[in-house]
Amino acid sequence: MKSTRTGREGLTAYVFLSPWLIGVLLLTIGPMLYSAYLAFTSYDLLSAPKWIGLDNFRRMFTADPRYFSSVKVTLVYVAVSVPLLLIVSMVLALLLNKGIKFLSGYRALFYLPSLMGASVAIAVLWRQIFGSTGLVNQVLSLFGIQHGSWVGSPGTALWTIVTLNLWAFGATMIIFLAGLRQVPAELHEAAAVDGAGPIRRFFSVTLPLMTPLIFFNLLLDTIHAFQAFTGAFVVSRGTGGPTDSTLFYTLYLYQQGFAELRMGYASAMAWALVIVLAAFTGFLFLTARRWVYYGDER
């Protein structure tokens, strides 16, 4: 009896799963395999793909300085904005954690920007306020500081996009806040009784208990940061400039694949990214055992 029921349950399950399975096959796995093939071809969609072996990769790694620019820009962006994001979110979550008045109001207001952060409207606004006569410079001139355009100068353009990402810290903060709520008060009490000051308490009690969430946010925020597109596109008007200082990996991929019809090259770029991210994720999971503390371990 049981076997037919589980057999039938299995069948039912697969019926329930069918949309997702079709999606995974046709829209994820299939395309991944196809792009793995395309990475070794030269393809402009108008004529058949031409097998060129490792040429795309050769070009990427030895003959394309713009590729390295895009890698550098993206790595700098990720390496700076993700830790900053985590730190700022954590600090603000800590500030909000003590049962202050208007908590839900503050929480909601901090969260609002992260809903708008990915929109074209905000990116457009960002381009204006960091322009040569924009809001930021107007405020600075009140203090007597003159500055040129932030988005027009290669030294600062990338940082405007970092601030855009940082501006949307609300979602990460809320996750931390929820996690902080779950830290048992008794632990804080016990530590305080033992003479630990607040900062010591943070590092010995709070932080270790928060490591699962830090891990979670680190992983997702990093992957999200690697996929940045809209902000870079709108702020640089699709060019990745000035002098490729905002040429994010996704933007360069878009330019090469769609604007210049080098789909094989774009596929090679995509796989290079996937491999790096997979390595990073794997590394994170492996080291997680060292530093992520799950409450149920002794």
Partner: protein
């Protein structure tokens, strides 16, 4: 030894520090951060109501002349046609929400409640797709949709939602359904309900918070989506609000900031609106994703 109250503010140093003052400092700090964060947006909204000469050169929020001109001009400036763009965005977003609700709930039910061969493998696959960057499927999907002659239609943007391509929401719902007691399922079984009935009658109504969160986030992601429409919607009559905004300055000339801000405000308004109405749901949804 004096017992220390756990209500001590976090950064106080000596026990004799007045908690009131520290609480005040905290509020001041928080408000300062909020002001810096939100001021640009508020400024933009205020600027959209100012006549075009005053738009860019005033730092403040107030003006002697308020006008709706920017809105009227921006709505159909040049060849732009924001009625069309808003309509397109609404249609695409609605279809995407329906699609996500449909496919993600079905998949989540299977993972949360049913046993089947290869379940662990498939769940692992689900998690892996959550961590996959979209670059690697971008080009082949474009080629696929091209072959299907779906260019310049909504289909490439909407159909994937009906096929459960957003693993994040599946994961969200799985976690949620797992918290519902199994006794409900068993009771339903005893009453003669098969899995489908259990799904529809018992689980879905109880999963309303998760469904709501999914719907809201799908709305926001779909409304803000830019790369997808950029690739697939080439004809202006199919453009979404994102594309319309992006081409605004090209088409109308760079002095049209007033109308640009007006249209940006309108583009952001639905997001803010939905947010105000359902922020509790959204925030709870975000909070729980990290926790289980």
């Amino acid at each position: 030894m004096t017992t220390v109250s756990i209500a001590r503010p976090l950064f106080g140093r000596r026990r004799t520090r007045n908690p009131m003052v520290l609480g005040l400092v905290r509020h001041v700090l928080l408000i300062a951060v909020l002001i810096v964060m939100l001021y640009p947006v508020v400024w933009m909204v205020a600027a959209s109501f100012r006549p075009s000469a005053e738009v860019m050169n005033s730092l403040g929020l107030f003006s002697k002349n308020y006008t709706l001109d920017n809105y009227k001009q921006g709505w159909s400036a040049g060849q732009l046609n924001f009625s069309r763009y808003f309509l397109n965005s609404i249609v695409i977003t609605t279809l995407s929400i329906a699609g996500n609700l449909f496919s993600c709930s079905l998949t989540a039910y299977a993972f949360a409640r049913l046993e089947f061969p290869f379940k662990r493998v498939l769940f692992g696959l689900l998690l892996a797709t959550m961590l996959l960057p979209y670059h690697v499927t971008l080009v082949p999907q474009y080629i696929l949709f091209n072959e299907l002659a779906w260019m310049n239609t909504y289909l490439p943007l909407v159909v994937p939602k009906w096929l459960g391509v957003e693993a994040f929401f599946i994961f969200l719902m799985v976690q949620f359904i797992r918290t519902l007691p199994r006794e409900l399922d068993d009771a339903a079984r005893i009453d003669g309900c098969g899995h489908w009935r259990t799904f529809i009658r018992i689980i879905m109504p109880l999963a309303l918070p998760a469904l709501g969160t999914t719907a809201l986030f799908t709305f926001i992601n779909s409304w803000n989506d830019f790369l997808g429409p950029l690739l697939y919607l080439n004809r202006p009559e199919l453009w979404t609000v994102s594309l319309g905004l992006n081409s605004f300055l090209d088409v109308t000339g760079e002095s049209a900031f007033g109308s640009l801000f007006a249209m940006s405000t309108l583009a952001l308004a639905p997001i803010v609106g939905f947010f105000l109405v359902s922020q509790k749901l959204l925030i709870e949804g975000v909070a729980t994703t990290g926790l289980k």
